[in-house]
Subunit: 344 residues, 2 copies
Amino acid sequence: MPEFRRDPITGAWVIFSPERAGRPGSFVKNPPEQGLMPDCPFCPGHEKNTPVEIMHFPGSLEYPGRPWALRVIDDNQPLLTSTHGIHRYGEGMYDLMSGFGFHELVVESPIHTDGYLTYLESHIRNILLAYQSRFAELGRQEGIQQILITRNTGRAGGPYHIHPHSHIVALPIVPKRIFEECLGCLKYYKFKERCLYCDIIHQETVDRSRLVLENEEFVAFCAYAGRFPYEVVITPKAHWSRFEHIRPNEIALLAQMLKSVLTAVKRHLESPPLSFIFHTAPTPQAQQEELSCVTKYYHWHIEIIPKLTRTAGFEWGSGFYINPVLPEVAARALRESCKSTAAV
Amino acid sequence: MPEFRRDPITGAWVIFSPERAGRPGSFVKNPPEQGLMPDCPFCPGHEKNTPVEIMHFPGSLEYPGRPWALRVIDDNQPLLTSTHGIHRYGEGMYDLMSGFGFHELVVESPIHTDGYLTYLESHIRNILLAYQSRFAELGRQEGIQQILITRNTGRAGGPYHIHPHSHIVALPIVPKRIFEECLGCLKYYKFKERCLYCDIIHQETVDRSRLVLENEEFVAFCAYAGRFPYEVVITPKAHWSRFEHIRPNEIALLAQMLKSVLTAVKRHLESPPLSFIFHTAPTPQAQQEELSCVTKYYHWHIEIIPKLTRTAGFEWGSGFYINPVLPEVAARALRESCKSTAAV
């Protein structure tokens, strides 16, 4: 059974998930096979090999002739399960919590080799709508404080099945990095009475040197002090703290931007493995005092991280990152890549 | 020129080091060559190809017939330089600091293929003495708030030259993770009036389930909530906040323990790439109020991290780690590996 343990020094929670140790690809010395899985459980016709389906979108429009366009299912080797409830213990001086939570997969397409470069924009809207729908449902589950969506592509990002899919993980805690972002934004809010991200967006759209792309509702830029080369942030221009409150017209514009930016990154960097993750405000069930007014000062965003560098001991040990590419250089290259892609 | 930039959200500083972008191995898609470098600048006879030598130990005892046993030199592509001093600027709302600091290399042996498995214990003492000597010198440089020592082995750890060497980096800031450790220890100290690490060491030596090895002065254990599988912490049993205050008899016992633990890890996990990093208290020049009594509540330690898992977007994005191996399981395996190694 999975469990959460709290680092007594930094206060960070770590998931221990021994069931996953045997998964191919979980250790670097057993790299997963390239190419197709012999019996992909996510391809149409193999629906019985996956855990219970939570929802699906019909294939009629974007994938005519296919039984479905997108499925949401439980992960068959979930990081966390909801069966045993939330229990907190002490182990001597240490803190332990049962591995409560939800772990769902979005099988994004019926086509095994599909992906953001080949998806229709209207289909990316479907994916975002599925996320939104699951957020609403999972956020209502008792004890859920944070919902994370992550999408990995390519080997270094760590996907096991190559069939395009993303993860939705609902947690009974607020992960360290999200909490740190909240605290940073709160500190700024107390000082300036303004949202930190709103100020960043203002500076980036005026300065333009780190800007990658913008449309009426969204902006994509390389963060001033991004930890990784070619890291891109996509965020709404208006102050919204929760992704799940996104409106239909905004979903269309976000789908457009995601496709453009991911295509630009993949073209410029020759299809690197990459990950992206949605950072949205903790749910109203989050218990920390500092989060009581989180919607005022937190601003949701997506972090896109190409996996170009190895993280060495220095970064892991010190929490101190070395980035060999200035964000202005990265942004210029990605702006040009966006333009040339649009021209194709 | 390198520069530090501060993440306005989390407050973490990131080094931008564009000069290093072109280094082989800096991007995953250009992996470095395996095996020997055609012209290793660190091998004896090539001393002229390295930057100025800071110190060396004679070869007489451990490496008879060799011109030296160990050299400390400046890094020829330093992360940071001391030439331009410390300057802090604002860039609009952002914070920038010149890339001030020191970056030295310890060439640990005259033998290209040497390493912790082949070093004599007396030579590991030499390496630790070199670290101690450089700590004393660098800690006195104006503006230096933290000194980090890291050692990477194997490809995934990110070394460029395979000739055994370690890095000493002296920084004008306290890295995020060290600062977080300090804050965690301070909070505990305020609550309990005891050192958190001293309490952890007490619990681990009584409980023994996560213990890997102990001697009169040091203990090695797998941390209760370690982020990575087979992560090992080595720390003095007595309350010492600074590695640099280590005494000669303790150096001998630390050398012994480092050799045993690294050998056990390498044997059990079939020589994985790994990194280790020294976590020692920030220097007295560190400016944060919270660090004013750091020697009371901080406890120095070494973190050894085998590189077994890929860090996927989930961890990078959320700061939330998934560890597939319970520390009790890892510690038992490493204890057995220590015993069988000792028996050889």
